[in-house]
Protein backbone atom coordinates (compact mmCIF):
# COMPACT_ATOMS: atom_id res chain seq x y z
CA UNK A 1 0.00 0.00 0.00
CA UNK A 2 2.79 2.44 0.92
CA UNK A 3 4.35 1.91 -2.51
CA UNK A 4 1.25 3.51 -4.03
CA UNK A 5 1.98 6.71 -2.10
CA UNK A 6 5.60 6.76 -3.30
CA UNK A 7 4.81 6.10 -6.98
CA UNK A 8 1.82 8.43 -6.82
CA UNK A 9 4.18 11.20 -5.70
CA UNK A 10 6.97 10.50 -8.19
CA UNK A 11 4.58 9.68 -11.04
CA UNK A 12 2.47 12.83 -10.77
CA UNK A 13 5.58 15.01 -10.25
CA UNK A 14 7.31 13.81 -13.40
CA UNK A 15 4.02 13.81 -15.32
CA UNK A 16 3.32 17.49 -14.62
CA UNK A 17 6.93 18.47 -15.31
CA UNK A 18 6.78 16.54 -18.61
CA UNK A 19 3.49 18.30 -19.46
CA UNK A 20 5.13 21.68 -18.83
CA UNK A 21 7.96 20.74 -21.21
CA UNK A 22 5.51 19.50 -23.88
CA UNK A 23 3.47 22.73 -23.71
CA UNK A 24 6.67 24.79 -23.88
CA UNK A 25 7.89 22.87 -26.95
CA UNK A 26 4.47 23.46 -28.56
CA UNK A 27 4.61 27.19 -27.73
CA UNK A 28 8.19 27.40 -29.04
CA UNK A 29 7.15 25.83 -32.37
CA UNK A 30 4.11 28.10 -32.70
CA UNK A 31 6.08 31.28 -32.01
CA UNK A 32 8.87 30.31 -34.42
CA UNK A 33 6.56 29.98 -37.42
Amino acid sequence: MNNWFIWGSYGVTFLVLALEIIFLIKRTRETKT
Binding site: F5, G8, S9, T13, V16, E20, L24, T31
Partner: protein
Protein backbone atom coordinates in the same frame (compact mmCIF):
# COMPACT_ATOMS: atom_id res chain seq x y z
CA UNK B 1 29.28 40.75 -17.31
CA UNK B 2 27.52 43.54 -19.21
CA UNK B 3 24.34 43.71 -17.10
CA UNK B 4 22.76 46.67 -18.87
CA UNK B 5 23.64 45.25 -22.31
CA UNK B 6 21.70 42.07 -21.45
CA UNK B 7 18.76 44.05 -19.96
CA UNK B 8 17.42 44.40 -23.50
CA UNK B 9 15.22 41.43 -24.62
CA UNK B 10 16.92 41.37 -28.04
CA UNK B 11 20.44 40.99 -26.62
CA UNK B 12 19.28 38.64 -23.85
CA UNK B 13 17.56 36.31 -26.35
CA UNK B 14 20.66 34.38 -27.59
CA UNK B 15 22.20 34.32 -24.09
CA UNK B 16 18.97 32.82 -22.68
CA UNK B 17 19.23 29.94 -25.17
CA UNK B 18 22.76 29.06 -24.07
CA UNK B 19 21.91 29.23 -20.34
CA UNK B 20 18.67 27.24 -20.84
CA UNK B 21 20.52 24.52 -22.73
CA UNK B 22 23.27 24.22 -20.07
CA UNK B 23 20.74 24.22 -17.21
CA UNK B 24 18.52 21.65 -18.98
CA UNK B 25 21.44 19.23 -19.37
CA UNK B 26 22.50 19.84 -15.75
CA UNK B 27 18.91 19.27 -14.53
CA UNK B 28 18.69 15.89 -16.30
CA UNK B 29 22.07 14.72 -14.96
CA UNK B 30 21.31 15.90 -11.41
CA UNK B 31 17.84 14.30 -11.48
CA UNK B 32 19.32 10.92 -12.54
CA UNK B 33 21.93 11.17 -9.76
CA UNK B 34 19.33 12.33 -7.22
CA UNK B 35 16.88 9.55 -8.08
CA UNK B 36 19.68 6.96 -7.91
CA UNK B 37 20.77 8.15 -4.46
CA UNK B 38 17.20 8.68 -3.21
CA UNK B 39 15.58 5.47 -4.47
CA UNK B 40 18.51 3.02 -4.47
CA UNK B 41 21.42 4.16 -2.27
CA UNK B 42 19.57 5.81 0.66
CA UNK B 43 18.62 3.31 3.39
CA UNK B 44 15.08 2.51 4.53
CA UNK B 45 13.92 4.76 7.38
CA UNK B 46 13.73 3.05 10.76
CA UNK B 47 10.33 4.58 11.65
CA UNK B 48 8.56 5.31 8.35
CA UNK B 49 9.90 2.49 6.17
CA UNK B 50 9.98 3.18 2.42
CA UNK B 51 7.33 5.92 2.32
CA UNK B 52 9.83 8.52 3.59
CA UNK B 53 11.34 8.48 0.04
CA UNK B 54 8.69 11.06 -0.87
CA UNK B 55 11.06 13.50 0.89
CA UNK B 56 13.32 13.57 -2.19
CA UNK B 57 10.51 15.22 -4.17
CA UNK B 58 8.48 16.95 -1.46
CA UNK B 59 11.17 19.03 0.27
CA UNK B 60 12.98 20.24 -2.90
CA UNK B 61 9.59 21.14 -4.49
CA UNK B 62 8.57 23.09 -1.36
CA UNK B 63 11.93 24.95 -1.35
CA UNK B 64 11.51 25.79 -5.05
CA UNK B 65 7.92 26.99 -4.55
CA UNK B 66 9.15 29.60 -2.05
CA UNK B 67 12.40 30.48 -3.82
CA UNK B 68 10.70 30.99 -7.20
CA UNK B 69 8.13 33.29 -5.59
CA UNK B 70 10.89 35.44 -4.07
CA UNK B 71 12.65 35.58 -7.46
CA UNK B 72 9.35 36.42 -9.19
CA UNK B 73 8.72 39.28 -6.72
CA UNK B 74 12.33 40.46 -7.17
CA UNK B 75 11.97 40.70 -10.97
CA UNK B 76 8.51 42.27 -10.63
CA UNK B 77 9.87 44.90 -8.21
CA UNK B 78 12.81 45.58 -10.52
CA UNK B 79 10.38 46.08 -13.40
CA UNK B 80 8.25 48.41 -11.28
CA UNK B 81 11.29 50.48 -10.23
CA UNK B 82 13.23 50.58 -13.51
CA UNK B 83 10.37 50.03 -15.98
CA UNK B 84 12.38 47.41 -17.88
CA UNK B 85 10.49 45.08 -20.22
CA UNK B 86 12.67 42.06 -19.52
CA UNK B 87 12.00 42.20 -15.75
CA UNK B 88 8.25 41.84 -16.29
CA UNK B 89 8.85 38.95 -18.68
CA UNK B 90 11.08 37.18 -16.14
CA UNK B 91 8.39 37.52 -13.45
CA UNK B 92 5.70 36.19 -15.83
CA UNK B 93 7.92 33.32 -16.97
CA UNK B 94 8.61 32.17 -13.40
CA UNK B 95 4.98 32.11 -12.24
CA UNK B 96 3.74 28.88 -13.96
CA UNK B 97 6.81 26.90 -12.82
CA UNK B 98 6.43 28.26 -9.29
CA UNK B 99 2.75 27.28 -9.25
CA UNK B 100 3.69 23.81 -10.51
CA UNK B 101 6.22 23.26 -7.72
CA UNK B 102 3.70 24.52 -5.15
CA UNK B 103 1.17 21.99 -6.46
CA UNK B 104 3.83 19.22 -6.35
CA UNK B 105 4.73 20.16 -2.74
CA UNK B 106 1.03 20.01 -1.73
CA UNK B 107 0.33 16.80 -3.66
CA UNK B 108 3.37 14.89 -2.37
CA UNK B 109 2.70 16.27 1.11
CA UNK B 110 -0.84 14.87 0.99
CA UNK B 111 0.41 11.45 -0.16
CA UNK B 112 3.04 11.46 2.59
CA UNK B 113 0.53 12.66 5.19
CA UNK B 114 -1.90 9.77 4.66
CA UNK B 115 0.40 6.91 5.77
CA UNK B 116 2.22 8.93 8.46
CA UNK B 117 -0.46 11.22 9.95
CA UNK B 118 -3.51 9.22 8.91
CA UNK B 119 -4.93 12.04 6.76
CA UNK B 120 -4.30 13.65 3.38
CA UNK B 121 -5.00 17.16 4.63
CA UNK B 122 -5.26 19.23 7.83
CA UNK B 123 -5.80 22.97 8.16
CA UNK B 124 -2.39 23.25 9.74
CA UNK B 125 -0.42 26.55 9.50
CA UNK B 126 2.28 25.13 7.19
CA UNK B 127 -0.17 23.45 4.80
CA UNK B 128 -2.59 26.37 4.74
CA UNK B 129 0.12 28.99 4.08
CA UNK B 130 1.51 26.79 1.25
CA UNK B 131 -2.02 26.58 -0.22
CA UNK B 132 -2.24 30.39 -0.02
CA UNK B 133 1.06 30.48 -1.98
CA UNK B 134 -0.59 28.43 -4.75
CA UNK B 135 -3.50 30.90 -4.82
CA UNK B 136 -1.02 33.81 -5.01
CA UNK B 137 0.66 32.24 -8.04
CA UNK B 138 -2.70 31.55 -9.71
CA UNK B 139 -3.87 35.08 -8.87
CA UNK B 140 -0.71 36.54 -10.39
CA UNK B 141 -1.17 34.48 -13.60
CA UNK B 142 -4.89 35.36 -13.84
CA UNK B 143 -4.25 39.07 -13.23
CA UNK B 144 -1.57 39.19 -15.93
CA UNK B 145 -3.89 37.41 -18.36
CA UNK B 146 -6.84 39.71 -17.65
CA UNK B 147 -5.13 42.99 -18.65
CA UNK B 148 -4.31 43.46 -22.33
CA UNK B 149 -1.90 46.38 -21.93
CA UNK B 150 1.39 44.67 -21.07
CA UNK B 151 2.89 47.61 -19.13
CA UNK B 152 -0.24 47.92 -16.98
CA UNK B 153 -0.51 44.17 -16.38
CA UNK B 154 3.15 44.02 -15.35
CA UNK B 155 2.62 46.86 -12.87
CA UNK B 156 -0.53 45.28 -11.40
CA UNK B 157 1.18 41.88 -11.18
CA UNK B 158 4.21 43.46 -9.52
CA UNK B 159 2.08 44.92 -6.71
CA UNK B 160 0.45 41.53 -6.09
CA UNK B 161 3.81 39.71 -6.18
CA UNK B 162 5.45 42.18 -3.76
CA UNK B 163 2.54 42.12 -1.28
CA UNK B 164 2.46 38.31 -1.46
CA UNK B 165 6.10 38.01 -0.40
CA UNK B 166 4.93 38.43 3.20
CA UNK B 167 3.60 34.85 2.93
CA UNK B 168 7.10 33.37 2.43
CA UNK B 169 8.44 33.93 5.99
CA UNK B 170 5.00 32.85 7.26
CA UNK B 171 5.40 29.50 5.44
CA UNK B 172 9.01 29.08 6.58
CA UNK B 173 8.46 29.95 10.26
CA UNK B 174 4.92 28.55 10.57
CA UNK B 175 6.25 25.37 12.21
CA UNK B 176 7.95 27.49 14.89
CA UNK B 177 5.27 30.14 15.39
CA UNK B 178 2.33 27.76 15.71
CA UNK B 179 1.67 24.26 16.98
CA UNK B 180 1.60 22.30 13.75
CA UNK B 181 1.14 18.69 12.74
CA UNK B 182 3.82 19.30 10.12
CA UNK B 183 7.29 18.56 11.46
CA UNK B 184 9.95 21.25 11.97
CA UNK B 185 12.83 21.86 9.55
CA UNK B 186 15.23 18.91 9.12
CA UNK B 187 17.75 21.11 7.31
CA UNK B 188 18.95 24.48 8.55
CA UNK B 189 21.81 26.87 7.78
CA UNK B 190 22.75 27.02 11.47
CA UNK B 191 22.99 23.33 12.40
CA UNK B 192 23.84 19.91 10.93
CA UNK B 193 21.00 18.06 9.14
CA UNK B 194 19.04 15.63 11.35
CA UNK B 195 19.17 12.79 8.80
CA UNK B 196 21.58 10.26 7.30
CA UNK B 197 24.23 11.68 4.94
CA UNK B 198 22.93 9.74 1.91
CA UNK B 199 19.37 10.95 2.52
CA UNK B 200 20.65 14.52 2.76
CA UNK B 201 22.74 14.08 -0.42
CA UNK B 202 19.72 12.74 -2.36
CA UNK B 203 17.62 15.70 -1.24
CA UNK B 204 20.28 18.26 -2.21
CA UNK B 205 20.79 16.61 -5.63
CA UNK B 206 17.05 16.71 -6.34
CA UNK B 207 16.86 20.34 -5.13
CA UNK B 208 19.68 21.28 -7.54
CA UNK B 209 17.94 19.37 -10.35
CA UNK B 210 14.68 21.27 -9.72
CA UNK B 211 16.63 24.53 -9.55
CA UNK B 212 18.34 23.92 -12.90
CA UNK B 213 15.02 22.76 -14.41
CA UNK B 214 13.28 25.96 -13.24
CA UNK B 215 15.97 28.18 -14.80
CA UNK B 216 15.84 26.23 -18.08
CA UNK B 217 12.05 26.25 -18.55
CA UNK B 218 11.70 29.88 -17.41
CA UNK B 219 14.31 31.03 -19.93
CA UNK B 220 12.65 29.02 -22.73
CA UNK B 221 9.36 30.73 -21.76
CA UNK B 222 11.04 34.16 -21.80
CA UNK B 223 12.36 33.43 -25.30
CA UNK B 224 8.78 32.60 -26.42
CA UNK B 225 7.57 35.89 -24.89
CA UNK B 226 10.29 37.84 -26.70
CA UNK B 227 9.27 36.23 -30.01
CA UNK B 228 5.61 37.04 -29.26
CA UNK B 229 6.62 40.68 -28.77
CA UNK B 230 6.57 40.96 -24.98
Amino acid sequence: MKWFWYASPETFYPLARRIALACGVAAAALAVAGLYVGLIVAPTDAQQGEVYRIIFIHVPAAWMSMFIYVMMAFWAALGLALNTRLSGMMARALAPTGALFTFIALWTGALWGRPTWGTYWVWDARLTSELILLFLYLGFIALQASIDDRRRSDRAGAVLAIVGVVNIPIIYYSVQWWNTLHQGASVSFTRAPSMAATMFAGMILMALAFWMYSIAVSLVRVRCMIREGG
